[in-house]
């Protein structure tokens, strides 16, 4: 089932093409990473899907409907976010839920339930301005969920959070995922993308650079290398071009055409005292830099 379907989306601001013929799909129930450098067109894309902006070309369907008709089913935690400073927490949440079409009583019940679920029940009657920044961020997170949306857009949800709150938000995203919600996550924190996302779309200058399952992308970008923990290595191993010792493990860069399994066989044949053997992982951050930097270079 497709939650979001974007096809040929284009958006210009004057001479700047913010989104350029962008197409992708987000499946129902997945955590989807929308990545890209600053100014790549992420927020513009999200704003179009949220029906805040209208595209110049292309189409968007959210749960099979045009964005204007899907507002009630979509939650949004914007990057540029804030709350009514002089309103009480509960009032704010009830108002935002009512704007999404939730009747007042139901909105109040749901908001109270959500506040209690984040151990913030006593904040309900406090004014937003009296809360600490971390508390406000948690309320903002609750605000994006108060109408029980099917699809949630989280634009930089970890921005400005301390490690403890990062964990809390991460857990909350995990809980939403388990509840079957569709989550679109936009963040610069690649370790969190790796921890949370099933699939990603990396955009730059409004165009898709990488798109697909995270594991597959990582595999594509994996260098032709293996990481080995072992006793002593023989001076010459067939298929290995270079050996480097990094943090107690050997990094073996393979020669052109050599495959990891050939190297493993060679090591076993030579009775090397192997403790671990793995294809060298590539951090998503490196892939990001390679994909975006490569284009710019």
């Amino acid at each position: 089932m497709v939650a979001i379907e974007v096809d040929g989306l284009t958006k210009r601001f004057g001479d700047v093409v913010a989104v350029d013929d962008l197409s992708f799909q987000v499946a129902r129930g997945e955590v989807f990473g929308l990545l890209g450098p600053n100014g790549a067109g992420k927020t513009t894309t999200i704003r179009i899907i949220m029906d805040i902006l209208t595209p110049d070309a292309g189409s968007v369907l959210v749960l099979g409907q045009p964005p204007a008709r899907a507002k009630a089913a979509v939650g949004y935690l914007p990057e540029e976010r804030g709350l009514y400073r002089n309103l009480r927490v509960l009032e704010t949440l009830v108002y935002l839920a009512e704007l999404k079409g939730v009747p007042r009583t139901a909105a109040r019940e749901r908001a109270t339930f959500l506040l209690e679920s984040i151990q913030a029940g006593d904040w309900a009657q406090r004014k937003v301005r009296e809360l600490s920044k971390g508390m406000q961020q948690r309320i903002q997170f609750v605000a994006s969920l108060v109408h029980d949306p099917e699809v949630v857009f989280l634009d930089e949800p970890f921005q400005g959070l301390d490690p403890l709150n990062v964990e809390r938000v991460k857990d909350a995203i995990g809980a939403l995922h388990r509840d079957g919600k569709t989550i679109v996550l936009s963040t610069h924190q690649m370790n969190l993308v790796e921890a949370l996302c099933d699939r990603i779309l990396l955009i730059d200058h409004g165009r898709a650079v990488l798109y697909g399952r995270l594991e597959e992308i990582k595999r594509q970008y994996a260098p032709n290398a293996v990481r080995v923990r072992a006793g002593e290595l023989p001076a010459h191993i067939p298929g290995v071009a270079e050996v480097a010792l990094e943090q107690g493990a050997y990094n073996l860069n393979l020669a052109d055409g050599a495959r990891p399994q050939d190297v493993l066989k060679a090591l076993v044949d030579r009775a090397v005292d192997l403790q671990s053997f793995e294809v060298a992982p590539v951090p998503l951050g490196d892939i990001f830099v390679a994909a975006v930097g490569g284009r710019e270079g």
């Binding site: 210009r12 601001f13 700047v16 913010a18 100014g39 513009t44 009514y84 009512e98 704007l99």
Partner: protein
């Protein structure tokens, strides 16, 4: 336009702003100041009464009484009601001695030829001033009148001569105006629409102040991004205009009501209103102009105000419209001189001056129907036009954080369509 969402916004704006300390203080300021002025007035009013009594005593015969030497025979014996303050003396020397001894404050020497000449000599201890006081004293005048007439004319006539006028004031009114209510009606016919016009201008000022504050706060706190993901900017703007319009009207009614109450009582005003028989046409048209005027102004001000990066800037930008609303008041002498002058007719049709112009003009003269129709049509056409321009500006403005579009950009936004409209969305450049 989703009316339910607009209603949610309107209700939210009203209920959150009506509780603001600023609103409560401003709203109650007029009744409180009015009550204070009234109390102040009452206090000094009673002081004035005391002062009046004091002055009256100074300018009337003193408690010592007045000596009378009567050679004419009209004043002997002294009538019982005057015995306490007027004392007869048989000779001028006795009377003069009594004055010197301060047994009496003055003495009246009434000659034999009094009836023919009216001559009376006043003997007093002090300056001539005392004589003048005695001569002007209502008590002394009544003393003469009563003694001259007692027993000679009917008591009623005698009473009238000694107290000839019971004065009540009345202002002359024009005949044939159809307003049969007397002195109050003409003033009322003019004052009601004049006040209604002022009410409109004030509501525009007050409501737009809240409107800009509300938009400014949503922009500054960035909550607007969440809000516009739920409602369309036009719905948000319309909801704000409606909710805060009601709020502004409420404040104006409290002010107007308390002013009416303090300036002689609302009941008196109602009585006067009934008597004035303010033409129904003026009332109905007044309400129409009021509503249309507020709508056009508020929408445009919301749009322009949203372009400001903060509330202060928004207010400055929107201030230009307040000037338009006030123009007819600045030119009220022209209006009063000739309510159907060409300039006035032009202002009646120009949508930004039409509401206040017509509110002032209607009661002053027989306004041609063509002018009324033209001004209403002009306002009716302006509402969608204002909504179109205002919502475009608002849409661009609410998402533009920290940067104000230039005049050229604003012009392009208004003129543009589709892509052009969105192209100058400065907030978009920071992704």
């Amino acid at each position: 336009m989703d009316w339910r969402r607009m209603w949610v916004v309107a209700r939210h704006e009203f209920t959150t702003n009506v509780r603001r300390p600023g609103f409560i203080i401003m709203t109650l300021a007029v009744p409180v100041i009015g009550a204070a002025v009234l109390a102040f007035g009452a206090f000094f009013g009673s002081q004035a009464e005391l002062l009046g009594q004091f002055l009256e005593q100074q300018f009337d015969v003193g408690p010592e009484g007045i000596g009378v030497v009567d050679r004419s025979g009209f004043f002997s014996p002294i009538l019982p009601e005057y015995e306490e303050r007027f004392h007869p003396y048989s000779t001028e020397a006795e009377a003069e001695a009594a004055v010197l001894a301060e047994e009496v404050s003055a003495a009246l020497l009434i000659g034999e030829d009094y009836l023919e000449t009216g001559s009376v000599v006043v003997v007093s201890k002090g300056s001539g001033f005392s004589s003048a006081v005695v001569a002007d004293s209502p008590t002394v005048r009544a003393f003469f009148a009563d003694h001259l007439l007692a027993g000679r004319v009917e008591a009623e006539l005698q009473e009238r001569v000694s107290d000839p006028m019971n004065i009540t004031s009345r202002v002359a009114s024009l005949e044939g105006e159809g307003a049969s209510g007397g002195e109050g009606s003409i003033a009322f016919n003019f004052i009601v629409p004049y006040v209604a016009g002022l009410l409109l201008v004030s509501t525009i000022f007050v409501s737009s102040g809240y409107l800009l504050q509300s938009v400014g706060e949503e922009k500054e706190s960035r909550v607007v991004e969440i809000v516009v993901s739920s409602v369309r900017p036009a719905e948000l703007m319309a909801g704000k205009v409606a909710g805060l319009g009601v709020l502004g009207l409420l404040q104006m009614l409290v002010w107007a009501g308390s002013m009416a109450a303090f300036s002689g009582g609302a009941a008196a005003i109602w009585q006067m209103a009934g008597a004035a028989a303010l033409p129904a046409r003026v009332l109905v048209l007044g309400a129409v102009y009021y509503l249309l005027g507020y709508t056009v102004y508020a929408i445009l001000m919301a749009g322009i105000g949203a372009l400001g990066t903060n509330m202060q800037e928004g207010q400055k930008l929107a201030g230009i419209f307040s000037v338009f609303a006030a123009i007819p008041y600045m030119l009220s002498t022209v209006f009063l001189a000739d309510p159907n002058a060409t300039l006035v007719r032009v202002f009646s049709i120009f949508p930004l001056t039409a509401p206040t112009t017509m509110l002032m003009r209607l009661p002053l003269a027989e306004v041609p129907w063509t002018d009324i129709v033209a001004s209403i049509v002009s306002l009716l056409l302006s509402v969608p036009a204002a909504l179109w321009v205002g919502s475009r500006l608002f849409e661009v403005g609410v998402l533009a954080y920290g940067k104000r579009p230039t005049l050229r950009e604003i012009w392009l936004i208004i003129r543009g369509r589709g892509a052009t409209v969105k192209r100058h969305r400065p907030g978009e450049e920071r992704n």
